[in-house]
Symmetry: C2
Subunit: 346 residues, 2 copies
Amino acid sequence: MGLRKIDIHAHILPVEWPDLKRRFGYGGFIRLEHYAPGRARMVRDDGTFFREVRENAWNPERILEDMDRHGVSVMVLSTVPVLFSYWARPQDCYEWSQFLNDHLAEVVARHSGRFLALGTVPLQDPDYAIRELERCVCQLGFPGVEIGSNVGGRNLDSPELFPFYEAVQEFGAALFVHPWDMLGQERLQNYFLEWLVGMPAETTLAICSFIFGGVFDHFPRIRVLFAHGGGSFAFTLGRIARGYEVRPDLCNVHAVQNPRLYTGRFWVDTVTHDPRALRFLLETFGPERVVYGTDYPFPLGDLEHGRIIDELGLEPEVAERVFVGNALQFLGLTVAEPGTVFSRQR
Amino acid sequence: MGLRKIDIHAHILPVEWPDLKRRFGYGGFIRLEHYAPGRARMVRDDGTFFREVRENAWNPERILEDMDRHGVSVMVLSTVPVLFSYWARPQDCYEWSQFLNDHLAEVVARHSGRFLALGTVPLQDPDYAIRELERCVCQLGFPGVEIGSNVGGRNLDSPELFPFYEAVQEFGAALFVHPWDMLGQERLQNYFLEWLVGMPAETTLAICSFIFGGVFDHFPRIRVLFAHGGGSFAFTLGRIARGYEVRPDLCNVHAVQNPRLYTGRFWVDTVTHDPRALRFLLETFGPERVVYGTDYPFPLGDLEHGRIIDELGLEPEVAERVFVGNALQFLGLTVAEPGTVFSRQR
């Protein structure tokens, strides 16, 4: 049987990890406290609660049950953004990234063909980030890495990141951009708004930083996917393009093209929770640029595993692209039918 | 001839105003420096440049030419958000608001039937704000007021604002919410992003604050319009509603309904620069909730005065609603055909 669905956006935690505060000598990290069978709390090491999680956040056997129940052939696993730790000392984040990536590699190896992984890198230090990127791709066999939408408040057009992008392009790695450390978070403390309003804005900002900062132009072969349908970018593209047209003095300092011309240049996932919004994405970016993803296992994710895509009643070849083909393109992988052994495109 | 188009979102400046820094004894205000015929600069009183403007920002005769050229029957004028001055001493902002509102009233009076005005109020002090609201409605004859999307960083669900909303409802005033003082602005300093990404996020946050903060529920008769098509709200409503469903502990602290049930509860304008986005708004909010507006005279505005609406090829009765009927509903006005004399609905 061929591949039915590749979920490009799913997160996993190691079942346990070292006490990072003790190890590195300062706080700010996340602990995982298992307090009942199949239940744990993510807690900041100052004791403040971050998030409740269940077994499907760390146990691959449990995850596979969900995958089998919903016809998910492959999940592409990445770490949970709160673990990025870009604020930490670079050397420490480098070590921590290696720990997380080794765990991802182990999960992938132990369940042949069911999981792929996008690694994490210490993006606050591009040298370390490049070193860990190389290890992810060349040693661990990952198709790419996940990064946050900013690094300590610096947007993704920051010149310090260009050597990293150069390496991403050179290694043919896929780059998954996930919102984290949301702008204006002091204004978003109530009603889950950091996730509901902050994340889409943060992702829109990340895409605009790639466009207006000239990242797409400098690295024409880089493959990037933005989470949660690209945030609000598609919907506010009219305003963004209008801004480019009427204020080139502000928008076009890097001699880039009209933002509308970059819509075929990157991928977005399907995490929108709205069939009309999803159709809007397909129209804006094209059916070859929208990739099935869920944000599993978190409650704000698509825990019906693509039902809104089914409900759109897409042409079979479009649906196949969204569920499988586009993910392979983004990841730079080919698959020898009817098996599920992936190999890198040449 | 009846009304063809009522532009709900247009800004005007007085041609000159007092030196506010000298008058109030501290800085932070905006000056208008006329430096050539028909040209002026808005400059912060520390000397930093804010924005270049032309005669159509202050001269009603010049504005009327544009209106006549584009078949705009009536413009609903409001002040430019940078003039709100919610950061100033309340007494000073109260005096300044009176100055701006007196100017608006004068423009309305001098060009009978062509302009309406939404006043500005010192929202940092609800008592003064209510006093000036009352003056706007009862003395100056305005159908309502314009407010910013936050007050000194406090969102619009702030309990201090509830007496103001009570008064707005009591006076039957229309409330136009315009984004200003954008969240995360330190991250938005390049490429006009404070306007392109910050404003839509800010407006989305304002709508979410009204919903999750229970403002709509507390004031069932309040009439509110959010600028720029409501920012990203319509497009990210799937995510917002999903958040409400899965995290009621965070989203539903005020016993509100599902966010999807508030879409018929407020108005948005048409400033999207994208016909597909505009159609999305009509589908989300309903054809009776989308109001023609331009953000005239600024370059990020719809300076083709509704051409994208024409291009949608709406049913004539829908187009009439968008161009005229919905504005009257929002403003609480009726008009005796075939004239253009407005009277308040009872």
